[in-house]
Structure formats: C-alpha cells, structure tokens
C-alpha cells in the first residue's frame, strides 16, 4: 500500500481536529475526499506532509511501508509526497525558475543523483509549462507573487509535473478555476497518473471528478471519513448536499 493512515488523531493547539481518520491508498488509485467546510480536509493534508503545529496525538501515517509521523516536511517531500496547496504561498524575491530548480535538485540529491544538467532542466520545464499551459513570463517572476488565483493553481500542477511525486494530494486545486483551466489542471494530473502513483483529490465539486475520474470517493465529516463509495457518491452529494450525511452522523 502506498499510503496507509490508521486511526489518526491530530490536534492544533490542543484542539482535536482529526478524530480517528482512516484511509488506504494503493498505487494507481485516485481517491477523492469531499466534505463540508471545516471538517479537517486541509488538516489531513498538513498532517501527511508534516506541517509544524499539527500534532499527531495517536495513530499513524504509513507511506511506502514506513511510519512517517516524525519525519521533517522536506524528507517526506523527498520521499515523493507532494501537496498542491489550497492557498499557494507567495515568496517575493525567489524566482520560480530558481525555486523549482532548487527543489528538483534537492529531490535528486536525496535519491543520490547529481544535479540535473541545465539543458535537461530547461527542456523539462518547457515541456511541463506547455502541459499545464502556463505562460513563460510566469516562471520568470517570483514564486506566486501577483499570480491570479487560477495561475497559482496551475503553478501547483506545474510543480507537481516537474517533481513527479509518487503521492500527490490536491487540496481544492479546482476552486477558483474557469472551465478551461480546470481541464488543463485535469490534463496535468491525468498525464501523471500511472500504475505507480496515487492521488488524493480534495474537492467540493463533482465537476472536477468528471475530468479526474476517481476510483473512490470519501465523505469527511468532523475529523473522520463517514462514508465511502465509488464515483457515484460524488454525484449524489452534488444533488443532495451534506445534510443527509450530517443528520445520519450527528444522531
């Protein structure tokens, strides 16, 4: 199993947000996670990627057969875990190109590889930029600085394409995207889909799942998964909202 989360409890500043979360992702699978605002979807992403301040009080995150609870964020990234941020961060003064090149080479170093030769890097960048249809001038700017909402999201997928992770977590990558951008993002994700990789796609809208077809859909509520199903579940949620689930669960 690529990712195996068992009975995960996570607190932020002493407040429990994830309350016994379970999820298993095999290689080659796409899991969608849906659920009302504030139920802990981004918290889950933060816990998997090793963000500081998200305390795992019990349970475990196993990735590629290793418990990663205590690993630093950069080590988890180097092991192939990628997060497309719900709110990508602006880093004034750090050019996109230097940033992504530093990241690519950090990951190569972790694998014991030499830095990528400049020509190869540039070629790869050209290719991936075309894939996600981002404008050349964006990669000359500082990371995310002054990017539009849609550009930021595309930039996340661009970085994913450059880093070729084993496990990609997309946290609302579709929100704020117009329909063309949505298709581009989906194209980027689908091009990376393979027998070797797994995806966790967090979204509020069924629409994205028309383009990135999931193997499983989970509904998260109050810090855990309360319902799982196939892609039909997303359609049902779109139609009926979350009240029926909340009712079921609250009782």
């Amino acid at each position: 199993m690529l990712l195996n989360i068992k009975d995960l409890h996570v607190s932020i500043k002493g407040k429990e947000i994830l309350k016994g979360f379970n999820l298993g992702v095999n290689k080659g699978e796409v899991h969608a996670i849906m659920g009302p605002n504030g139920t802990g979807k981004s918290t889950l992403a933060a816990a998997i990627t090793g963000r500081e301040g998200y305390d795992i009080t019990s349970g475990g995150i196993e990735y590629k057969g290793k418990i990663i609870n205590d690993l630093e964020a950069d080590e988890r990234a180097n092991m192939g875990i990628f997060l497309s941020f719900q709110y990508p961060v602006e880093i004034p003064g750090v050019s996109m190109t230097n940033f992504i090149r530093t990241a690519v080479n950090a990951q190569r170093e972790y694998k014991g590889l030499k830095p990528m030769p400049a020509s190869e890097f540039l070629k790869k960048m050209e290719e991936k930029k075309n894939l996600v249809e981002i404008h050349s001038k964006l990669t000359k700017r500082s990371v995310n600085e002054g990017f539009s909402g849609g550009e930021k999201k595309k930039n996340e997928i661009f970085q994913m394409a450059m880093l070729e992770p084993s496990l990609a977590i997309l946290d609302e990558t579709d929100s704020g995207l117009d329909i063309d951008a949505l298709k581009v993002v989906a194209k980027g994700v689908n091009s990376l889909r393979s027998e070797e990789n797994g995806f966790v796609v967090i979204t509020h809208y069924q629409r994205l799942l028309d383009y990135i077809v999931p193997d499983f859909v989970h509904v998260m509520y109050d810090g855990r998964i309360v319902k799982s199903g196939g892609k039909g579940l997303a359609l049902e949620l779109e139609e009926k909202g979350y009240d029926w689930i909340k009712e079921q669960f609250d009782n």
């Binding site: 990627t49 090793g50 963000r51 500081e52 630093e72 964020a73 950069d74 990234a77 180097n78 990628f82 997060l83 941020f85 990508p88 961060v89 602006e90 880093i91 004034p92 003064g93 750090v94 050019s95 996109m96 190109t97 230097n98 940033f99 992504i100 090149r101 530093t102 990241a103 080479n105 950090a106 990951q107 170093e109 972790y110 830095p115 400049a118 890097f121 540039l122 990669t139 000359k140 500082s142 990371v143 970085q159 880093l163």
Partner: protein
C-alpha cells in the same frame, strides 16, 4: 554592566595634531589650514559623540574611545599591485580601479592623480589640492553642515588623504570608478580619510566605494565623503563594506544635490565589527530625486547603525529610502531615518521603509523614523517592520523537498533582492548578489576563517546560475 571606559582617544587626537602640526599642514592651501584650525577648536571644546547624545543612544563607541591607536602611519611605497594584496570579490565587473592603503592613495609609480582625455580627474586629495586648487577650495568642506559631531571634526583635522573625483560638465563616464580601501597593518590603526566627488552639470558617474579588511587586525576607519551633484547630473553610488569583526567604521557621506539631479545610493554591509553609516542628502535644487537603499547582514556581536538624513529644502523633489537587514546571534542594529521638509518644499514626496529579520531572539534592532514637515503639500510615508522568516513560505519550500537551511537561505536572499534589484548595472548587481549569497552561506572571504557560525558553509545550494533570465 559594561565596565566604565575612559575616553583617551580625544586627547590623543588633539595631542597628535599639536605635535605634528607642521608636518600635517605642509603643502596645504591656506583656506584648508583655516578649516583645520576650526576643526581643532571644535574638537577641543566638544566631546566625541557618545551614547548620551540622542543620535548615538544605541551605538556605543566607548570601547573604541578607550583604545590606544596608531594615529599616524606613513604611506607605503607601491611595490605590490593591488591585485596582489587584495582579491576583489566583485567579479565580472569592469571598472577603473583606484585604491587606498592605510589611508593613503596607493598607485603605481607614485602617480598621484590621473587626468583622462575626456577631462575626468581621479586621484589623491593631497595632489588635487596642488593641481586643482580652485576646484578644491570651492568644494572642500562645503557640503558638511556646521555643528557636526567630533568625529567629523577629527576627520577634517587629521585626514591626510582620500580620493578626489572631478567629472566635468556634460561628461558621461562610461566605466564605473571603483575605490578599494584597505588596511594591512598589524597594529590598531585609526585611519581618517576624506573623499571629495564633484559631478558637473549634465554629467553622469557610477562610483563603487569598497571598504575591505585584508587581515584580521583591528582598526578604526573614520571616513568622510563629500559629494556635489550639480544640475541634471546622475550619480549611482554603491558602497560595499566587508570588514573583519574587530574593525570599526564611521562612514559619513554628505551629498548636495542641485536642480533635476538624480542619485541612487546603495549601502551594502556584508560584515564588520561596528559600522555606522551616516548618509546626509541635501536637496537644494528643484526636480531632484534621491533613491537611498541599504542591506545589512550582521551576526555574532556585530553592530550596524544606518543614519539617513534627507533635507527637502526646495519644492518638487522626491526621495525614497529602503533599508533591509538580517540580524543573527547577538548582533544589533539601528536605523534612523530623518526626513526634513522645509516650509518652501511644496510638492515633496518622501518615502521611507526599513525591514528587518531577526534570526535569533538575542538579536536586536532599533528602528526609528523621524519626520519633520513644515510644508503642507507633501506626500510622506514611512514604515518599519521587525519579524522572523515567513513560516508559511518555509513550509511551502520544504514541502517541495528543499531542506530547512537552504530554504532559510533562499528566503533571506530573497528578502535582500528588493534592494539589489535597484542596482542598475547588471554585472555589478549579479556580483553583489553573489557576495550576499556567499555571506549568507558563511563563505565570504573575511569571515570564512571564523569559527563562529554564519551559516552552514558546505551546504550545496543550487542558485549559482541565474536561470531566471533564460
């Protein structure tokens, strides 16, 4: 508690002047002798600045005043070229290089002044006084205001030499002029040097002023630079300061700007035990602009003090200040931005910003704007921030696989980029940025022998080639 120190320096300075007066004033113009006499009486009647003075509250020179210095040292004969003594860190940047060693103009064959075909004059202050007495007399000590502090008086009194630059009207100087100032003595030198730079009407000059240590000996540099920027002239001045941890420097720059002139000053402090930069700009002609920027990267127990004074004396001028600093360990800093807008200076715009990153809880910065405004049609803004590195950005970078120390370095470097982006000579900017990276990685020459950490030096960081331009 710092132990009580005794000010022996002031008496030593006065005594040295009294004892060596005849030597010190030989070959001087009468007007210069007069100016020195006035400085002598100023220094006799007032104390060297100390932390009882409002403007020196947070910069304590007490430990310097209690030291015994070698006050006069003879000029060394030119038997080694500058390149042999000192390897300039500013690579790939072509400039006309001039150097000063231990306070004396240092040049091949003792050639003290160079007069270029186009009329540009660059050379020793001593010699300029002889060869260009009229120009010298007209401008020397004319930019400094009255009632300056004792260290400036000491400089006027004791400075033997310095660099003289005269750019005639309408001359655009294509190459940058670079002044490399070095100390190479083992003893504790007190060096006063005095520079005078004159830009004629419609002229243009790029000047690079480097203060470097080439050994680990202590010293005190007391430098005064007077600059006159005539109508419609453009000055681009970069100051690079890379001194060892036992050297102190008080570097006072006075600039008079006349109508429609334009200046950019970037003060980059890489290293130094104690550095105080006083930058005084007088805007005396309408339609002028001053862009004043700085970067300081301090650690260990280093101290940096930037005092910026902009005097908007006339209408329709603008000034902009951006100073950014990173302070680590127990280092401390002061930023004092004083903007004065006179009653007649309508339609003034003055902007000031000072941003600081404290890397440790023991590092300190004291930042203060001081605005004094008497005109009513004025756009003024000022701001100061003191913070840590952005943790959101750090996590974002680490999530991409970049290790903690590299992520921090990238962020610190990025923090300074806003200032370096204002350096309009590409090769120089790249070179200065490169030195900043090295400094942040702890690899800059003067600090590489140091056991105290600046940063992790053997961490490979992949921004050696700037791909962003491809």
């Amino acid at each position: 508690m710092p132990k009580k120190t005794e000010n022996i320096l002031q008496e030593n300075l006065l005594e040295y002047y009294r004892d060596n007066k005849s030597v010190l004033s030989s070959g001087l113009l009468d007007s210069v002798k007069n100016i020195k006499e006035k400085a002598f009486s100023f220094l006799t009647n007032s104390k060297l600045p100390g932390n009882k003075d409002e403007k020196w509250r947070n910069t304590d020179l007490g430990s310097i005043y209690s030291q015994k210095f070698t006050l006069g040292c003879q000029a060394e004969k030119y038997d080694k070229s500058i390149d042999e003594i000192f390897v300039c860190e500013v690579h790939g940047f072509e400039s006309l290089k001039f150097s000063m060693l231990n306070g004396w103009f240092y040049s091949p064959g003792n050639k003290k002044i160079k007069i270029f075909e186009n009329g540009l004059v660059v050379g020793s202050m001593m010699e300029a006084q002889k060869q260009f007495p009229e120009i010298f007399e007209k401008y020397f000590n004319s930019v400094i205001e009255e009632n300056q502090h004792g260290l400036i008086a000491a400089n006027t009194l004791l400075a033997n030499d310095g660099l003289f630059v005269y750019v005639p009207d309408n001359l655009i100087v294509d190459d940058s002029i670079q002044l490399i100032k070095m100390l190479n003595r083992e003893e504790n030198l007190f060096v006063n040097s005095r520079n005078l730079i004159i830009l004629g009407k419609n002229s243009k000059l790029s000047f690079l002023h480097c203060d470097d240590s080439i050994n680990h000996s202590p010293g005190f540099l007391n430098t005064v630079t007077e600059i006159v920027v005539c109508e419609n002239a453009h000055l681009h001045l970069n100051k690079l300061q890379n001194l060892n941890d036992s050297t102190s420097m008080v570097n006072s720059t006075f600039i008079n700007q006349y109508g429609s002139s334009n200046i950019t000053v970037n003060v980059i402090t890489y290293n130094g035990g104690l550095i105080r930069n006083e930058l005084n700009v007088n805007m005396l002609g309408q339609g002028s602009h001053a862009d004043l920027n700085g970067i300081y990267l301090m650690d260990k127990s280093q101290h940096i003090d930037n005092q910026v004074f902009v005097n908007h004396a006339v209408p329709n001028c603008s000034s902009s200040e951006l100073f950014k600093g990173v302070l680590d360990n127990r280092s401390s800093g002061v930023f004092n931005g004083y903007i004065f807008v006179g009653r007649d200076a309508q339609n003034t715009s003055a902007f000031q910003q000072n941003n600081n990153i404290l890397m440790s809880s023991d590092a300190k910065i004291d930042t203060q704007p001081f605005l004094e405004i008497y005109a009513d049609d004025v756009k003024c803004s000022h701001g100061a921030t003191v913070g840590q590195l952005d943790t959101e950005a750090l996590f974002y970078m680490k999530q991409r696989g970049i290790g903690d120390s590299d992520a921090r370095l990238l962020l610190m470097f990025a923090f300074t980029a806003e200032v370096t982006s204002k350096i309009n000579i590409e090769a120089l900017r790249l070179s200065i940025e490169d030195m900043i990276k090295k400094r942040l990685r702890g690899e800059l020459s003067i600090c590489d022998k140091c056991v105290l950490h600046c940063s992790v030096p053997d961490m490979p960081l992949e921004f050696d080639i700037d791909l962003s331009k491809i």
